[in-house]
């Protein structure tokens, strides 16, 4: 009866933190976060004296409004889709491969090296170049992978450091030993590689299909193989491997190499499909955008596809509207904002409105 004299809580409902968010809450929170980030960007654009609505309309038109626009969108979507799969593969194990750009570049270097100096029928050579690119990308992540697995060295910093080195190597090769000596008017690029992926829609090449197939393979492996299941578990808990008979260190190396090889494949596809030469800027920060797409999609295949299309759309808008006062850099800032909002939404989705427990006790007491 003493309980009766307790003060009544002023609010009968309160926010309660749940251990994991429900799937619906996550989806809603994510969409709200992206919209909020876009709204903030619109305000910033407005404040800088441009009209966000006019820009938005122009963005839609420039990405979807014409055949050329769709072609450009596809050309950007291709590498982002592939780098997103590369990032998502590593993230399955909680590994952050921030060096995808570097691995893409070194894949491109390997492909150019073979493509310039080895001759053969186009189809066969494309096959050889794919493998070359994947080997190049995997080799570039080997040291960070081993360091992470066996010495617990932070893979974020180590893979990122190698990005800078990769760009130096590309610049050196493209302006030095491999530079175009034919005088075709291409500055700071290697000679043209004679092997090309077939194009099917304007300049859009079959790399887009390769990306989709890759995503399909990723979906299949994630869903149906023991390998992926083990990787999920080992990634979630370092110690579980020893109970399951999985060597965690080995698995870290394998996963990182797979991620690097996919990044290298993106390099191969960019060289043989889009740029046809080795030059700085082959990777238009595709590694970064791939990571963001993978995070936006929470690593699920459909999510990755949606995330990649969104990022490709934003990026394309930024590139097309440079004359309207936007730039690639403002797009990077915008994607950062989206990432921050989504990261916050992830946690906020875990809160649930619940009747406060004090009130429950109260009502039980009241009921006798």
């Amino acid at each position: 009866m003493a309980l009766k004299s307790l003060p009544r809580p002023s609010i009968g409902w309160k926010l309660r933190l749940t251990p994991i968010a429900s799937r619906n809450a996550l989806v809603v929170a994510r969409i709200v976060a992206v919209l909020l980030a876009l709204l903030v960007s619109a305000v910033v654009i407005k404040l800088s004296g441009l009209s966000p609505i006019a820009l938005g309309a122009k963005a839609l038109k420039s990405s979807l409004g014409s055949e050329f626009a769709l072609e450009q969108l596809g050309l950007l979507l291709t590498p982002i889709l592939i780098t997103a799969v590369a990032a998502a593969s590593a993230l399955r194990m909680g590994l952050w491969n921030i060096g995808i750009d570097g691995q893409l570049y070194i894949g491109a270097v390997a492909v150019t090296g073979v493509g310039l100096f080895v001759d053969g029928p186009n189809f066969l050579m494309l096959l050889v170049l794919s493998i070359t690119g994947m080997v190049g990308g995997a080799l570039w992540v080997l040291l960070p992978a081993l360091a992470r697995a066996y010495a617990n060295v932070n893979e974020i910093i180590s893979t990122l450091m190698l990005n800078f080195v990769a760009i130096l190597i590309v610049n050196y090769l493209a302006t030095g030993p491999w530079r175009d000596k034919t005088g075709a008017g291409v500055m700071a690029a290697s000679a043209r590689i004679p092997f090309a992926l077939p194009e099917f829609f304007g300049a859009l090449h079959i790399g887009l299909f390769l990306g989709m197939i890759l995503l399909g393979v990723f979906a299949f492996v994630s869903r149906f193989t023991q390998f992926a299941y083990e990787t999920d578990l080992v990634g979630a808990n370092n110690h579980i491997g020893s109970y399951m008979g999985v060597r965690t260190e080995q698995r870290i190396v394998v996963i990182m190499l797979v991620s690097g090889a996919i990044a290298g494949l993106a390099g191969m596809i960019e060289v043989t499909g889009n740029v046809h030469r080795l030059q700085y800027g082959i990777s238009n920060q595709f590694g970064i955008f791939g990571i963001i797409a993978a995070v936006l999609g929470r690593g699920s295949p459909i999510g990755i596809a949606v995330g990649s299309v969104f990022i490709a759309f934003v990026l394309n808008s930024g590139l097309v509207m440079q004359s309207a006062g936007l730039s690639l850099n403002s797009v990077i800032a915008l994607t950062g904002l989206v990432l921050l909002a989504v990261a916050s939404a992830e946690v906020l989705a875990r809160y649930k409105l619940a009747r406060s427990s004090a009130n429950l006790v109260r009502s039980k007491v009241d009921a006798g």
């Binding site: 060295v153 950062g336 916050s344």
Partner: protein, 312 residues
């Protein structure tokens, strides 16, 4: 030879200052358990804001102040997500990198490549600066250099290891649950020091453009933010060791300059790659020796958001 050594140590000290400021800021944040991967973006923002402020006011001190202010603002945004909302710190840090780099390059475009109109000038300390070689490089430098390499690390060391408040700071980074029970406000301490750390990092950016390289350009940060993060691990989260590490890295940068100036038969690619390769080496080297958990001196709760509801 003496001239060369003097020049090299002078530029080593100058280059080291950028890394020292950024790494000391990161040390503060990581000591309270928050890893901020956004240093690269913060340095870029600090660098560009300082340049813009100097172009409008002509006063480098106001440039430094403006950089510190933008650091507090960006730090608050980061801390709002990473400390208050308690979102994934890695994601928040990457987001801050992109926001900072993207924004800095956008607003810096009009002044890119233009030399700044006012810089910090060297202040000569009497007597000390007469020591050969080291005297001139250590004691004939602009004031921010003394701040970055002497005043700041010593005061941080004192704060962290010699005061009661420092004990609270470290407690929050090691075991926020226990700190909470002891009545320390985990969230306010984390918020405060993440913001101070971010401000120090943007000041590192201002130092970069007002002391070291007197112009803003897109690639001027050159991965220094990431190197600074590696430096904190290398220095095992100790402010005084951070400074030694920073000067070591500064020396490698200076080596590159000297080799190019003297036409040493080393490819410029190799020289430019040196700082990045060295970063890899200083990460891997000690890690091979200290494989046991936490021998690297990392705060035990580093990177973990603190939810009181989930305290055990």
């Amino acid at each position: 030879m003496i001239e060369l050594l003097t020049n090299m140590t002078t530029s080593a000290v100058l280059a080291g200052g950028v890394l020292a400021l950024a790494a000391l800021g990161e040390t503060l944040g990581e000591r309270v358990g928050v890893i901020n991967l956004g240093l690269e973006g913060l340095i870029a923002m600090g660098a560009v804001v300082a340049v813009l402020a100097v172009f409008t006011t002509g006063n480098p001190w106001l440039g430094l102040l403006a950089a510190a202010a933008i650091g507090l603002a960006l730090g608050s945004i980061f801390a709002l997500a990473a400390v208050v909302v308690r979102a994934n710190q890695i994601l928040c840090g990457l987001a801050l990198t992109f926001i900072g780099l993207g924004l800095a390059k956008s607003i810096g475009n009009p002044v890119a490549g233009r030399p700044v109109t006012a810089q910090f000038v060297a202040v000569r300390l009497p007597l000390l600066s007469d020591i050969p070689i080291l005297g001139r490089s250590l004691f004939n430098q602009p004031i921010p250099v003394y701040f970055a390499l002497l005043l700041l690390p010593v005061s941080l060391h004192f704060l962290l290891f010699r005061t009661r408040h420092g004990l609270n700071i470290r407690a929050v980074g090691e075991d926020p649950g226990s700190a909470d029970v002891a009545g320390i406000s985990v969230m306010s301490i984390r918020f405060l020091y993440v913001c101070v750390g971010a401000a120090l990092t943007t000041i590192a950016g201002a130092y970069l453009t007002l002391v070291f390289i007197p112009t803003w350009s897109d690639g001027v940060t050159a991965g220094r933010g990431w190197i600074a993060i590696a430096l904190v691990i290398f220095a095992r989260y100790q402010p005084l060791r951070v400074v030694l590490g920073a000067i070591l890295f500064g020396f490698v940068t200076a080596l590159g300059f000297a080799a190019q100036a003297l036409n040493w038969p080393i490819s410029p690619v190799v020289l430019s790659a040196l700082p990045y390769v060295l970063t890899l080496l200083v990460l891997i080297g000690p890690a091979l020796r200290l494989r046991t958990a936490n021998a690297g001196g990392a705060p035990a709760a580093l990177g973990q958001p603190y939810f009181r509801e989930e305290r055990n």
